[in-house]
Symmetry: C2
Subunit: 418 residues, 2 copies
């Protein structure tokens, strides 16, 4: 034995990591190659059992908390040190893919195994976590497990949520933990965490388009939702002159056209989407009497969102006449800025491994946004094919998944030995 | 008795005409003051019986044809002369008004009564007619009775139509004629007509806005319907940069905005309406993958419609990128130009009676468009409150209804004595 240190990234096993994805994809697998593994379903329980079995085989301890978050622990040298944590979620959309969430859990678990395989002891414990119900497709709201852990949502209120069939979350959780038994950590949810790093597929096309392997995630962009309502007057399409019309759709078109123009930023960072449009009464030969449409607007900087919100309001005021119109804000989620030290570590480790990389904000929300309120946090993105996610055809390469995990384990080791 | 000729318009009885509207409004009357008297319903049969009873009281003959059109005949001096005809329809929309159609039937009947009361004998017979199923809300298509009479639709095909409950039109017609028995004219539908004049509420706001009593209807504008389809690609609203999007609604907005601008004619004659818009999948945080919308475009001149159709096509081709898009024409109803002699007579008689008037095309379709293919034809419009029609709140004044009838009877007498 030479004294030469083996870097933990050298012990990341691409084949093993890929096989674990394939094994997990069988649990809730769909004919089209995706997964339907909604939160607290039998498929979710099966995934929990699978992860716990792999942990047991490696001698890692597992436990859950009262909202069902599942933790895998590899001990550190200092028994009193707070853990460094990594993970994501194992639940999926009803027609979801094999990588959204699951990659972050399996990358964290692979990091634990790589540390083990490389014979590296860390000062702090390193933990993998599978947060409960990130997708929020069966039980609302999403990112529930991490939010309860971070104290952002109340446990009792979440346990009282019902799915669309009327099933109580508390009952579905009890059923799941009965089918996938793991020791329950006593006391309320949440415990001190030293730092947190989450790996995830990008769910967008930027890495692929720019031919980069690693996304150094600097922030989760803020998002605001609005509803625009335009009131017109129903009238006969054949007999009513233009001058006598209050055409709600003509007004809505003027508003939307001006909004698209006003949100066309040169750097293409602002995300502006009109996703839902209702035109009433919806008869081909009747002038529309009412239009409502939704706006989803996102940007990493809250000040930019604030400025554009004022612009959108001004457009509604300027373009709606002769129709009364209003813009109402329905949600406002502030941006999450990740910790500069963690961001720097991700960038540094990617570069040291010779992996092409770029800084980028996350367009979607993730569990990391809640944990970032507790401790220094960051994220690592890897490319997914054509940016497609929340879709059974979601895809990623074994090489990219392994590359992200190599960065992850180097970052975790550095954090755990600070 | 002096030899002074009494003009038939002097015998028009405003009070009697208004009372007949009130009596008819009870048949299918709704709590909101409108009527629900759909074609070949028991309410339709009741209206037929009412009209026939009034006719009998005045000694006018009544008969029906095989599609159920109901005719009232006042004989002329020349037994062989073709009749001058006037009328409209007695069926209504499910939530219709008291004047749409019914006014034209009652004005024609009042004209017969006025001729009778004034003791005027005409050379040609003068007939009032109530055409079957103009609205087309229960049985499709509308303007059915006049179209069958004019040979534009086939009788056997119309008898085979079914309503949404599966009732055969042939059975509903038999039921109606059993409940409202009238002598059936032998042979196929249709017979020679000398000329035709239809009175109707405007169903638009122009007369009211311009403070005119009589609309001299020069034409029924042509109408064309289109469906525009824009194909995009569903994508995550948070993660997908604008440059990577194929946003079907952004493209549809560019198309619609350009179309509204291109159809803004200075004279405000072109009617352009986007009435139905479907945006899929309709999720606030998903970039729309598909948009379809309808266009209803009308103008009195076919050449103008043709030119604008080319413009609309060019806009779709120019503005849709990067989304494939197409404009499909689904209907094309050519304009109806009314007879210059009849138009001239309507204008002349309105002026002679000192009634303010204006030339105008009809924005909506009417039975007159089919009869105009058989013989010289025209129409007379009177104002309706705020242009509202196909609505239980449809309204008109007794004075305007009588004024239109005075013009009508003068025109009919002139035509009948040519």
């Amino acid at each position: 034995m030479s004294g030469a240190r083996i870097p933990p990234s050298g012990a990341v096993n691409e084949q093993r990591l890929w096989q674990r994805h394939a094994d997990m994809a069988k649990l809730g697998g769909t004919p089209k190659g995706g997964v339907n593994r909604q939160a607290l379903s039998p498929e979710d329980a099966a995934a929990r059992n699978q992860l716990a079995a792999w942990a047991k085989a490696r001698g890692f301890a597992t436990f859950t908390d009262p909202i069902g978050n599942l933790f895998v622990r590899r001990d550190g040298i200092d028994a009193d040190a707070n853990p460094v944590m990594s993970g994501s979620h194992m639940d999926s959309q009803p027609t979801g893919g094999r990588f959204d969430g699951m990659y972050g859990v399996l990358a964290a678990f692979e990091a634990l195994e790589a540390l083990e395989d490389a014979g590296i002891r860390t000062r702090r414990p390193v933990m993998a976590v599978a947060w409960t119900n990130e997708e929020g497709s069966r039980f609302q709201p999403g990112a529930m497990g991490s939010a309860v852990f971070a104290g952002h949502y109340r446990l009792d209120e979440m346990l009282a949520q019902k799915d669309w069939k009327g099933v109580l979350l508390e009952d579905a959780l009890a059923e799941t933990l009965k089918a996938a038994p793991t020791p329950l950590r006593a006391g309320p949810p949440g415990f001190p965490v030293d730092s947190y790093v989450e790996a995830h597929i990008e769910q967008g096309p930027r890495l692929e388009n720019e031919n980069k392997t690693i996304g150094v995630v600097t922030a989760i962009q803020g998002s605001r939702r609005y509803i625009v309502t335009v009131e017109g007057e129903e009238a006969h399409a054949g007999t009513t002159p233009r001058a006598a019309r209050k055409d709600a759709y003509a007004a809505a078109t003027r508003i939307a056209a001006a909004m698209y123009a006003a949100t066309t930023d040169a750097e293409d960072t602002l995300r502006f989407t009109i996703g839902r449009v209702e035109v009433a009464p919806g008869s081909p030969n009747t002038v529309p009497g009412k239009v409502t449409f939704t706006i989803d607007m996102r940007h990493p900087q809250d000040a930019v969102l604030e400025t554009h919100e004022r612009t959108l309001k001004a457009i509604v005021a300027a373009k709606a006449a002769p129709c009364p119109a209003a813009l109402e804000r329905v949600t406002n989620v502030a941006p999450t800025d990740f910790d500069p030290k963690v961001i720097g570590l991700v960038r540094e480790k990617a570069q040291a491994l010779g992996l092409s990389n770029m800084d980028m904000p996350s367009g979607a929300g993730h569990d990391a946004m809640h944990i970032a309120r507790l401790c220094p946090a960051g994220m690592i993105f890897v490319p997914c094919e054509r940016g497609i996610s929340h879709n059974e055809s979601e895809n990623a390469t074994p090489q990219d998944l392994a590359a992200g995990t190599r960065v992850l384990v180097e970052v975790l080791e550095a954090l755990a030995n600070r």
